[in-house]
């Protein structure tokens, strides 16, 4: 006999003047290999077609389906119901703007992040279509990819105490992005250039180092190492700046 799951889901449609934020209970029979992706779609198709949530790849690779699952930010498509108790509480990710029910606006947040961190290669070299590609050590390539694996799900931001307190805090995903360019030999920015972006309380010095971010990252990015690396680097840069003045 399979379990009956009880799902308590946050409901609010800001576009409906009659809607008030509340929790709504749905009951669903658990099936084999059920994930929250399957469960939520079944609820939408069979019980409440207005239920809003975000899924895209349903395979843990696009980062769409971040939500707070029994108190912890995570990817819903990745979460099997058999790993959860019979009562499941789902809330939208905090920090990001609510679109409705479990759906939040991560797109705008991350797009602003790209602008703040200037998330692109800075180089004066011009591409020559007739030349061979520039060589790169495979070790560098692998190290860069390791940091580029972030899927921008927003879980680390949602779990971060500092991000919840200060709206302008860049957050682990952004600091990780900076680290990605910092180790890229193609990027010609100097430590001092990076210091302008993250050498302050909105950046690396605002981080309290409690590492909730790394705990929840579904891609297991080495966020802790990056934060430490940047803190050391920026610490040194800030001392150098003092002496130069």
């Amino acid at each position: 006999m399979s379990r009956l799951l009880k799902l308590n889901i946050f409901r609010y449609n800001p576009e409906d003047e009659l809607s008030m934020p509340h929790m709504q209970e749905f009951v669903l029979e658990e099936t084999d290999s059920m994930t929250l992706f399957i469960a939520l779609n079944r609820i939408r198709e069979e019980q409440d077609p207005s239920l809003q949530f975000d899924f895209c790849c349903r395979a843990g690779i696009c980062g769409s389906c971040g939500m707070v699952i029994n108190g912890r930010p995570g990817l819903a498509c990745h979460t099997k119901t058999r790993d959860l108790p019979g009562e499941i509480t789902l809330l939208p990710l905090p920090v990001f703007k609510l679109v409705g029910d479990l759906s939040v606006d991560t797109g705008t947040w991350f797009r602003e992040m790209y602008t703040k961190t200037e998330s692109w290669i800075h180089t004066n070299k011009i591409f020559d279509p007739t030349a061979l590609e520039e060589r790169m050590d495979n070790k560098d390539a692998v190290a860069i990819y390791e940091l580029e694996r972030c899927v921008e799900c927003g879980c680390c931001i949602a779990a971060c105490g500092t991000a919840r307190l200060r709206e302008d805090f860049l957050g682990a995903a952004a600091l990780n992005r900076v680290a990605r360019f910092l180790i890229d030999p193609r990027d010609e920015r100097t430590d001092r250039d990076y210091y302008e972006i993250i050498g302050n309380d909105m950046g690396i010095f605002g981080c309290m180092g409690l590492l909730a971010c790394e705990d929840v990252c579904p891609k297991h990015l080495p966020l802790q190492n990056q934060l430490g690396f940047l803190r050391r680097k920026m610490g040194i840069t800030s001392i150098k700046r003092l002496f130069r003045k």
Binding site: N13, P14, E15, D16, D32, S33, T35, R44, E45, D48, P49, S50, Q52, D54, F55, C56, C57, R58, A59, G60, I61, C62, G63, S64, K80, V99, G100, S103, D105, T106, G107, F110, R111, Y114, T115, S119, W120, I121, K125, F127, P129, A131, L132, E133, E134, R135, M136, D137, N138, D140, A141, V142, I144, Y145, E148, R149, V151, E152, D184, R186
Partner: protein, 611 residues
């Protein structure tokens, strides 16, 4: 109502859309991309395996060049492609891969010296050349003569998508995510933008542009079992079908991928077989080499999927509560390889199956994967039927894939086509003056508002959108799958026609306020059923087997009668079947039709034509 003006409007912010956007932005034009999701969540980012370009850096790629890549592509297409386009593609791909490296893609690079690799379960040794150190590395993929697939671990799509989106941010390309285009603005001759629905508020918005591009990816979700993301639903295609003048090319060409995992149909990359993984049956025995002695697991996807299905029909499948399947074995590749170069595969297996591929077999079966068909364009990417309308990427039938596309050729197509067509769009914009006809715009917006109101009020009926959608998916699954017959296709067409009648009578059960996902599904349903009919009816009429289109009652590839591309129109909204027309598959012939070297070889030659 908000109106947004731009020079170039791109429906879709995947790799094809963003690559074209960068090209036009660099030429000085304003560009807006629309997307259902933040750009980086586009399906391009799900591609794990890699992109083909004949750089020839790896020792196993030695001697590779655009000519060989071209020949593989034409054979892969089973001579269904436009050879002029395939040539353009093969010649440009190496430049685009290098450009991506310049923009920031962390391609895996050549490490000189000895290393081992696997083929058909056996171990071999190779030695990479000193002088190639640090150049872009490649891996093996199905249907290719050389190792040609450039990759970043198994997150190629993700890494390239990040770089492309960064480039867009740098160049000031605007991406309006959570925005869904629902209708083209056009007067039967020229396209000048779209009506879109905001997926943050549910409001309608008008986008006016001198050039518009459909780069909305595939539409696999009209099948029930697919590797495609839930946003690959053909919504943008339905806009084109709705015009009556823009044809879809080769809709019957639907690719099934050999290794979707059971039961969720999530893809594990072809890189698994490329890197030496093998397919096993219920007795844990290899079988592909029996059917394809030469290429075995590395024949093209249409061929491997077909033999797998055949082998299961012969009683060698593994029984499971989700139907029969086969096994994929990558255990011999070892823990380091699996958690390194195949890490996504490792994560998919452990998180979604509870299977550890280092020690256990992976349950797989062929599943819907790719749409070779799409908005028919010429070699400049201009859509047939409307001026100012372009298409690129999986959404388009630019037609370098013909009736089967090779692994690694689609992701490469997105950036190659995006670049080439983006430049053509920029040329078009140079000399372009457009008048936006306000009457027409108001009419179209009014029409969309009326549709929405009718759905909310249930004015047309009370059919359940999800049930009708399921009926459509089931009909395609049963009738227009890997193996096709006249009987099955006739039944499929009849069931889809029934679904079409029901689709016109959908009414919402919810109030339709705000973003409302039920409304979004309902708005595209009728168009989706029309796309499905284009597939099924096109397949019924095509009495031959070519690439992924396999008619059991017509097993030969018939070059005498079918060296053609199907063009499917929906001429009048009240029609119950598409109108099919045909054009030559290619006007330039560099390689005359011949044997592919794998798969079936029954061919009715074009020379048999009676004068």
């Amino acid at each position: 109502m908000q109106t947004v003006y731009t020079d170039f409007l791109v429906v879709g912010a995947g790799l094809a859309g963003e690559r074209a956007a960068v090209e036009a932005a660099e030429a000085g034009f304003s560009v807006v991309c629309l997307s259902l999701v933040p750009a980086r969540r586009s399906h391009s980012s799900a591609a794990q395996g890699g992109m083909q370009a004949s750089l020839g850096n790896s020792v196993m790629g030695e001697g590779d060049c655009p000519d060989v890549h071209f020949a593989d592509t034409v054979k892969g297409s089973d001579w269904g492609c436009d050879q002029e386009v395939a040539r353009l593609f093969a010649d440009t791909a190496p430049i685009e891969m290098r450009r991506l490296a310049h923009w920031g893609v962390p391609w895996n690079r050549v490490v000189p010296g000895k290393s081992i690799y696997y083929k058909g379960g056996k171990q071999y040794e190779k030695v990479e050349a000193e002088e190639k150190e640090g150049l872009i590395m490649a891996r093996s993929f199905g249907g290719t003569a050389k190792w040609r697939t450039c990759y970043t671990s198994d997150g190629t799509g993700h890494a390239v998508m990040c770089t492309m989106d960064n480039r867009c941010a740098e160049k000031g390309v605007e991406v309006h995510d959570k925005t869904e285009a629902i209708a083209l603005l056009q007067d039967g001759e020229t396209c000048f933008g779209v009506v879109a629905r905001c997926l943050r508020t549910g409001e309608l918005r008008v986008y006016l542009s001198k050039a518009t591009m459909i780069a909305a990816g595939g539409f696999g979700r009209i099948y029930p079992n697919t590797t495609n993301a839930v946003i690959c639903d053909g919504g943008a295609h339905t806009m084109c079908v709705g015009t009556g003048v823009v044809p879809m090319g080769n809709m019957e060409a639907v690719q099934f991928h050999p290794t979707g995992i059971v039961p969720t149909d999530i893809l594990v990359t072809e890189g698994c077989r490329g890197d030496g993984g093998t397919l096993l049956d219920v007795d844990e025995k290899r079988f592909m080499h029996i059917y394809e002695p030469e290429k075995a697991e590395l024949a093209s996807r249409d061929v491997v999927s077909r033999w797998m299905t055949h082998h299961m029909r012969e009683g060698h499948g593994v029984k499971s509560p989700y139907g029969e399947h086969l096994w994929l074995d990558i255990r011999h590749l070892g823990a380091e390889h699996i958690t390194g170069k195949l890490r996504e595969v490792y994560e998919i297996c452990t998180s979604f199956l509870g299977v550890d591929p280092i020690h256990q077999l992976i349950p797989v079966r062929p599943t819907h994967h790719y749409s070779m068909g799409g908005v028919r364009t010429n070699k400049d990417g201009a859509a047939y039927g409307l001026k100012g309308l372009f298409a690129a990427g999986e959404a388009a039938c630019w037609d370098m894939h013909g009736f089967n596309r090779l692994g690694g050729n689609s992701l490469a197509e997105t950036v190659v086509a995006g670049g080439i067509i983006g430049r053509k769009v920029a040329e078009y914009l140079e000399g372009c003056e457009t008048e936006f006809k306000t009457g027409l715009i108001n009419d179209e917006v009014g029409r969309q508002q009326a549709r929405i109101e009718a759905l909310i009020s249930g004015a047309n009926g009370s059919e359940n959108v999800y049930k009708v959608r399921a009926a459509m998916q089931e009909a395609l699954h049963k009738g227009a799958n890997i193996f096709r017959t006249q009987e099955g296709l006739e039944k499929c067409v009849a069931e889809l026609q029934e679904a079409l009648i029901r689709a016109k009578k959908v009414g919402l059960r919810s109030n339709g306020k705000g973003v409302n996902p039920e409304l979004a599904a309902a708005l595209k349903l009728e168009g989706q059923v029309k796309l499905a009919l284009m597939i099924a009816y096109g397949a019924l009429m095509r009495t031959e087997s070519r690439g992924s289109h396999n008619r059991e009652d017509f097993p030969a590839r018939n070059d005498r009668d079918w060296l053609t591309r199907t063009l499917a129109y929906w001429k009048k909204p009240e029609d119950t079947l598409p109108t099919l027309e045909y054009e030559p598959a290619t006007t330039v012939v560099e390689i005359p039709p011949g044997d592919r070297g794998y798969g079936h070889s029954q061919i009715i030659s074009a020379d048999d034509k009676k004068e």
